[in-house]
Symmetry: C2
């Protein structure tokens, strides 16, 4: 397609002025800075980083985020595990409660040399994992999920009976590798003090659970916490062996609203073209609707509602209070934020903007490639694949 | 993957008990019924159906929805136009305001024999389309978008100056094919009388605009309306030549909430596996989170909020008031609808459910294939590709 456009003498396809829109843009300078920031924060504590690759779903990004080409890494689907294993990642935690029917794929991966660990929170799952391990002659490693904040799944941290029963059931053929938790509630926290409390609650939940297991004579080498807000807020990692975090690689408007980053740290955006105006309504129409931005409205419950995204110029600088106030499938309606005194910029049909997303994981999932730029330069340095599916 | 599972003696991958989850399931019996219903409704009026293929994004589905293998069809992206043209569709309206940089791809398609028409609502766009037409020696057909309800883009129907100026600008090399509108407001309408008013407003807007163009001596052969709610509510199609509608093929919970269909008409669902319980909270955890369901919460503003989806058994029958009350990326939290006196069904880890979506277009977009079933049978008759991208 781009070749055809170039043949007609249109804008060069190797810049943001020439690529087809809408598309996902990744500023690798911001990404590298985000990764360095978390590594710098965790370094002194001695805690290892097991980045969650569900945000990027890209081998090229993974290689720039992981400590080594072999990992460690966290994934949210077996498709991710398979893609990353095929690219040489050898240490993978599949961090969604295991369904017994999925153990065949886990064993396939393990038989090809990837140390894939599963997560569970019931005796039924532990029995199934142990049985599959015995049948395959391969001790599948499992982490027990602990619920630190009532947000999702997991054993309650003080549930001695539950933790020990699961640990013992795993012992019948599988490997009890440790405990893990995710402070999902931190996404709703406001302010540094609330975030620190989330982080400390997350730490205590797994440290206490690990103590229960060890007290019962069970092993617990891995004590894993993980959410981007708590990774940046935690002041104490005592007893924790690893941190899982994903969205920090790109950051997004929800993270900026929480205070985990600034808007200037957000490394992904959607490039869009102006396709119309409704001057009577103060609207600019662009070709990035919810299909390109996702339906995620994560900032709607924050102090600053960013609509479906914050609009920037093609260099990535916000215009100010310009947001995507509404979205159809392939139409974005851009307007000054309600209540703001800002003015609509003078954008003509065909002009291009970049839109920062509410939620990098959700917006990324709408795309199958990254157009890679560095800082404010419009030059597209590379195009990196990303994948989806299960 | 399925072969590996089958080799281990697990459930057969050619039934809903054996396929990997989460996945998108299409009940073709319901789909055929939905298509027949709209065709039956439009038949007596003599108005043609130009189905919007943005919902299905599948050649296999398109062939079962279009009047002929050559179309007509409506699309929302040039990727759709290219995929469907490659599959033999010859009459395509690209129904999102055209950006001049996209005309190269439109001309490429036209040079390969697909009659692709574009949509616009400004003189600037008309001048660009006329110039590109002259340069290519190919009169690109264009429809003028009319705004019937203040919902999105379009010329106001009474804007004589605007309509005629655009029509004349197109005449300088391009082809003025007609007028089109979309009653976006109908998605928020409640009750048959409100829907009839939306439909009549939609009809009047384009019929009036067509009269203005013809009164100025300009051609206007096509007078096009289109939304699923108005397609089913309209009582009068006088002056209208075609109806565009998309979501009617599958329907969804938003359409059921509006009254355009019943829950029993919804032809797509997401197959999910139970991965945990939180009995203390009345939750069942499944492996379909927002990645599988989309972030669309379209029923949140309706009388019955369906959360992230309505939970059915594997045969597609709703359990009752069982919905996905919250979702993480790969976790769905299933519970009895708040305020309901219903009971949680007895589902074990590994059991499978089907979840009806709020919005078929958004949920479909999260998947790259359909598992095709017929009625309550768990047999997977076929797997049909679907695509995304722009």
């Amino acid at each position: 397609m781009e070749q055809a456009a170039a043949a007609r003498g249109e804008a060069r396809p190797d810049t943001l002025h020439g690529v087809d829109t809408p598309c996902l843009v990744l500023d690798v300078a911001r990404m590298e800075n985000n990764v360095a920031r978390l590594r710098g924060r965790l370094g002194p504590s001695g805690v290892s980083l097991r980045p969650h690759l569900k945000t990027a779903k890209s081998v090229e990004v993974a290689r720039r985020v992981m400590a080594s080409p072999a990992g460690p890494a966290t994934v949210s689907t077996l498709m991710e595990a398979e893609r990353f294993a095929a690219a040489g990642v050898r240490d993978i935690t599949y961090a969604v409660g295991i369904a017994p029917a999925k153990l065949g794929r886990v064993l396939d991966l393990r038989s090809r040399g990837a140390d894939v660990a599963v997560v569970l929170d019931t005796v039924e799952q532990a029995v199934a994992v142990a049985a599959a391990s015995r049948a395959a002659g391969d001790r599948i490693p499992a982490l027990i999920e602990v619920d630190c904040d009532g947000h999702r799944s997991g054993v309650l941290p003080g549930d001695v009976h539950g933790l020990v029963a699961i640990g013992r059931a795993l012992g019948e053929g599988a490997e009890l590798r440790g405990v893990m938790t995710h402070a999902g509630e931190s996404y709703s926290a406001r302010g540094p003090e609330a975030l620190r409390r989330c982080a400390e609650g997350e730490r205590r939940a797994v440290v206490d659970a690990a103590a229960i297991l060890r007290g019962a004579g069970l092993p617990c080498p891995v004590v894993s916490v993980g959410s981007t807000p708590t990774a940046f807020a935690a002041e104490d990692f005592t007893g924790v062996t690893e941190v899982r975090a994903g969205v920090f690689v790109f950051f997004d408007l929800v993270m900026a609203g929480i205070g985990a980053c600034t808007v200037g740290d957000v490394a992904v955006s959607v490039l869009a073209t102006v396709i119309g105006h409704r001057r009577d309504k103060g609207w600019i129409l662009v070709d990035a609707g919810w299909m390109a931005m996702s339906r995620d409205r994560g900032t709607s419950r924050q102090a600053v509602d960013q609509g479906y995204g914050l609009v920037c110029d093609i260099g990535g600088e916000p215009y100010g209070d310009l947001v995507v106030v509404d979205a159809n499938q392939e139409h974005g309606i851009v307007a000054v934020r309600p209540g703001s005194g800002g003015a609509l910029p003078d954008l003509a049909i065909g002009d291009r903007v970049r839109i920062l997303p509410n939620h990098a994981c959700a917006t990324g999932a709408q795309h199958r490639e990254y157009r890679v730029v560095r800082g404010a330069s419009p030059a597209v340095e590379a195009t990196w694949d990303r994948f989806g599916g299960w």
